[in-house]
Symmetry: C2
Subunit: 275 residues, 2 copies
Amino acid sequence: MIKTVAIQGVKGSFHHIVSQQYFGDEITLKECLTFDEVVQSLLTGESDAVVMALENSIAGSIIPNYALIDNHNLHMVGEHYLDVQHHLMALPNQDINDIVEVYSHPMALLQCKEFFKKYPHIKLVEDKDTAEVAQRIRTKNLKGVAAIASKLASELFELNIISESIQTIKQNETRFVIVKKENHEVSESDISKASIKFELEHKRGSLAAMLNVMSDCKLNLTKIQSMPKIETPWKYAFFVDVTFNDYGDYKKAISIMEIMTEKFKILGEFKDAKL
Amino acid sequence: MIKTVAIQGVKGSFHHIVSQQYFGDEITLKECLTFDEVVQSLLTGESDAVVMALENSIAGSIIPNYALIDNHNLHMVGEHYLDVQHHLMALPNQDINDIVEVYSHPMALLQCKEFFKKYPHIKLVEDKDTAEVAQRIRTKNLKGVAAIASKLASELFELNIISESIQTIKQNETRFVIVKKENHEVSESDISKASIKFELEHKRGSLAAMLNVMSDCKLNLTKIQSMPKIETPWKYAFFVDVTFNDYGDYKKAISIMEIMTEKFKILGEFKDAKL
């Protein structure tokens, strides 16, 4: 039973929205300043699950979050897609010309940098969380300061949206995962997707052989990303997501892959959210 | 003949260091504020080549730069690896406790965020370029402000290094590419690596078939990354780097792949810098 869900950010953040959509309103939200803190809360038992952004269609994978899940041997037990729309918001009765500084999360600033080219007078400042800035503008009554955050944040903190959907690429789908310490709760019949990691020697055809196994076992590849291993220049780690109709097919594939690869690891098994 | 090389950033930036190491001191450096400006300078003929960071071992690929090369049909004609070490620097006679604000590039701030956890009094502010901050501290005589930048920047702008190599992961290799408008100058005998892009229908085994072709033609895969195409949910684009000993093998592989994939495109052919 999920009681407490930890997120990076405060109420009104995109992580909060995902947590609402995935778990409903019955859970307690634990607001953390960083993803490290989120993971710590899970490890100490302060939270039962965490919501974590993992990739978006603009910047690709959020590799540091992959590393957090991998290094702490956590398990993805679910996934959720959110269409992230960034709005520029401030205290009422101000327009864009009144704004001197905009504070937001680095990823949000990156996604909206094109918009701000038209307003060189605005200073962009990196901050920990999109919604926390919105909250701060309200509690400290900050004039001349704007936040880039969600519609939910503008509602919660009663800010006025100066400009809607200011990110450069308007369709901005972000994939979030639900992460837990243990992986006991998803029943086999509900599992239709898995996230795996393995390493291969840098040998011609080694990855092709792996993909042949997956294909022979009727797995569909939905994501693949190689990461060079700095310490061992001729080895590569691969992060792969697969979907499948039959759990038995998947089990067969991974039993072969465990033999044919090094450091084979299942990062998560869950229901394909796109089904 | 390369005369003018455009970089994102100013003298003392990591792009400047790569430009020096790759082209020597005989070229004119064109300093640009953004990667977009860098590309524009190439398109208008203001520069003959550009140096562009493409991936690093911490954050993975810099997808927006891949998109710039792809969207403008530019060509990678070379690659260069740099061990990026971030140093904290300020005007002389200040220590870490005197520093109130640190300005730097978002990627540099991200890579060093662990270090700053010990110093919560320091405000981190996103800026356009690592070295430009160092320059500004010197020209405006800014006290209480530090930059995160290269050793070269500290030398050029006579700043004192407060703390060396403050990035969380000490080995921090970044891959840069040399990009031009045309692809005429690398002779076939010098080509040992290529960067290609193609699209595949989301059909089981489609990528495995491609990797089999590559393997049969004796190509080694050094990088693979899938990118979902937002507009067409069931298609995937793949960015792949391959190395090879024989240009003929490579030519054979791509002639097959051109038939078997959609939107096949060569992003660059060049000398493998790791050889």
